[in-house]
Symmetry: C2
Subunit: 443 residues, 2 copies
């Protein structure tokens, strides 16, 4: 494609003119000269397909047909490339199939679609000699897909650790910096446009888990159905936890982890304590961060805006350029993305060894601490520190004797042992509610 | 090249089997399966050219001809790609010309060669239909060349700011953390292999400046002869400066900056104060870091090992893979690297506006402070804070009246005004030695 008709513009179709689609139009129009230089020829938006053609757009649209019918793109032989910039599974899946079957290369930002239907869609594209580019699907403007798939190709990747959901990180940062409650911080995120009206996919960890599944495929060459990845959202985090963590020198972040261990992958998306001063702890607001360890390169760290109109559009347009010049076709062919012989991942069971942060709310009676620490000891869990806190958010609902929070930091120990100990602890009559257990990342 | 003989190994030649060359052999041998998967075919080292064939190597060499004659690579038609992994300008330049003229694509880590002879070599490669890949030339394992040239292609880059010399950063970090003198920290860097026997290119800022020239070409599409970039090395930094900066909440780093301003580029390599808690300040030891602002993506930050055997080899092997699969040829063609119509950069004169940190050593007499601050005021420089320090390193050489150090933090003001003021100040009879002026980066 790159070699023919260099003077002719490339005609592309946009499916979706929401936040990201409008951003793509803005870059293609406002930076047309710059894009032409990088693509070797002009890139022209030839048609758009949207749900509601009457809706006002966040960009000045060129004079192009805007329709609700995907056929205006798929059936136009002058269009060689489509950017699929709608969320959700349907009609996105059907539209991508139609575009590929009509001979279009596809660029997309839809991580849910790839995490759910990746194997089917990549296989279809390969069979048809087409490509799918998806830099914008993970970590917005951070070029992490290219970094893992191309730039670190000489490395056996040992681990990935990332903050991959900007909404969750915005909420946690507001709670930590303003002392807001979870509900207040969520409302602010919605008011600022960082969270959807229905934020459940963000705050329950689904979004980060789908992104981790995609990155793990690139890094480890295996396929992990995202629903098999253990997942806890930030809806379990309250302001007391954030304060207790801060007293110990930590912040709480929603961390996605994938790590090789004995031929298996240990994977998890969950809130974790990250030590203040380390890069993940310094990742604030709507920023994303990814830390990768490769056997040759050592630890690499990337930080940038993980969502939002222009950062995501930046990644989409880079993919459009890569597809136009022919780089995407090569990468898609050589990295063997989700080919028929991609092995399924073997997930490791319980994480081998890690420090844990526990909060156990108990009725303040003599002997309670001995009983709790005794149970931990019975499970072979060695304790680094215990702090007893007066309940911060008790409000008027004081009890006699009062409830107190035991905040316990363990030495490194198997998560399985901790979870078994907590099952016993939570059955004690002096324990109020469900205890909380978070992993601790010291570097 | 990627399309022919997919089952056949690609035969490559290595020029140089020093630290980086040995690392490349180790990756190609130890990770052969992994590399084959990414390159689509095996990559085989077919010949090596070295200065001293008898020397022992830091890798297990395959049974290949090792010679002192570049002809064993350039004249072997079965070799299509050469990795040029020797430093310095000659014979590196002549060897690259011979390799290109013999039809080989070239991968190199030699930043001095590109900063000095880039226009000539890139033009030659283009004319011959060959490519030069150079990810390893800047910031070691950090894929910053790909990030700027490809991943951020949709962006108009507004600024680059980086810690690009691992040796300097190691020395500054040791001074700051151990209280070592510059000489002690340099000796430690040499003992640990982070600094050459002759470290002058590292500590005088030459190395970082050459890397900045290469990055600026990629980011801004102009060519800047590296010698025109204002440059100060870390050999001007003493332990007192580091302590005074720390008292104000800053660390000192050798920072390379290029920034668009009014159609020109403001460029500089110099020690600067960076605020503790910001990413550049948290870049320690032999690590490198690059922060880039793009108009769409916002601020991106990359952090990783900037030097050393395996991180640099990781970048070289990624370039070898990219060249084998055909991505490099496309990138080399479309980015128009150093083409005949590449404009020369217009360098901005004095940096528009910045806070400055000054150290002025004076004889402690009444009225001195008023005199110094008066001169600053006469030049329109507004002072944020003044701290008077007893000299820390006076040793036995005390004078009567004693010398004291005035540490002054200015508000934002033009560098030109500060330098003129310091010329006047340094002519005062109460001022001892040359005053120091460093830029201050607050974010």
């Amino acid at each position: 494609m790159a070699h023919h008709d260099l003077a002719q513009p490339v005609r592309i179709g946009l499916v979706g003119l929401g936040t990201v689609g409008s951003g793509v139009v803005r870059i293609l129009v406002d930076s047309a000269d710059h894009i032409t230089r990088h693509a070797g020829r002009p890139i022209e938006v030839a048609a758009a397909v949207v749900r509601d053609p009457a809706k006002e757009r966040d960009c000045t649209l060129p004079a192009i047909p805007i329709s609700t019918d995907i056929g205006t793109i798929s059936q136009d032989p002058s269009i060689t490339l489509a950017a699929l910039l709608v969320g959700g599974l349907e009609p996105a899946r059907s539209m991508m199939v139609e575009l590929l079957e009509s001979g279009k290369d596809v660029v997309t930002a839809n991580k849910a679609l790839l995490a759910e239907h990746g194997p089917e869609l990549f296989e279809l594209a390969r069979r048809l000699g087409r490509s799918i580019a998806f830099e914008a699907a993970v970590a917005g403007g951070i070029p992490i897909v290219a970094a893992i798939g191309e730039c670190l190709a000489a490395n056996r990747i040992e681990s990935i650790r990332g903050i991959l959901n900007g909404t969750s990180n915005f909420i946690l940062t507001r709670m930590e910096e303003d002392g807001s409650s979870y509900a207040e911080a969520l409302a602010l995120a919605q008011a600022k446009g960082f969270a959807e009206a229905d934020p459940s996919m963000d705050v329950d960890g689904t979004d980060a888990t789908q992104k981790l599944a995609i990155l793990s495929h690139l890094a480890f060459g295996v396929w992990v159905p995202w629903k098999e990845i253990p997942r806890t959202g930030i809806d379990t985090v309250d302001i007391d936890l954030i304060r207790y963590a801060a007293e110990l020198g930590y912040r709480i972040r929603l961390v996605a982890v994938a790590r090789r261990t004995d031929g298996r992958l240990a994977m998890r998306v969950a809130p974790a304590l990250v030590k203040i001063g380390t890069p993940l702890a310094e990742t604030r607001g709507a920023y994303n961060a990814v830390s990768i360890v490769g056997d040759a390169v050592g630890r690499m760290f990337f930080h940038g805006l993980g969502a939002g109109q222009m950062p995501t559009a930046s990644a989409v347009v880079a993919d459009i350029i890569d597809t136009v010049v022919g780089r995407t076709a090569i990468t898609f062919r050589t990295t063997g993305l989700l080919s028929a012989d991609t092995p399924a991942a073997k997930l490791a069971g319980v994480d081998a060894s890690e420090r844990h942060f526990l909060r156990i709310v108990v009725t303040d009676r003599p002997g309670v601490l001995a009983r709790i620490t005794g149970i931990l000891g019975d499970h072979g869990i060695s304790i680094a520190s215990v702090i007893q806190h007066d309940p911060i958010d008790a409000g008027d609902a004081t009890t006699v004797p009062p409830d107190v929070a035991l905040v316990i930091m363990t030495h490194s120990c198997p998560s399985g042992a901790v979870h078994e100990a907590l099952l016993s602890i939570d059955r004690c009559d002096v324990v109020r509610g469900k205890s909380v257990c978070l992993g601790v990342l010291d570097e």
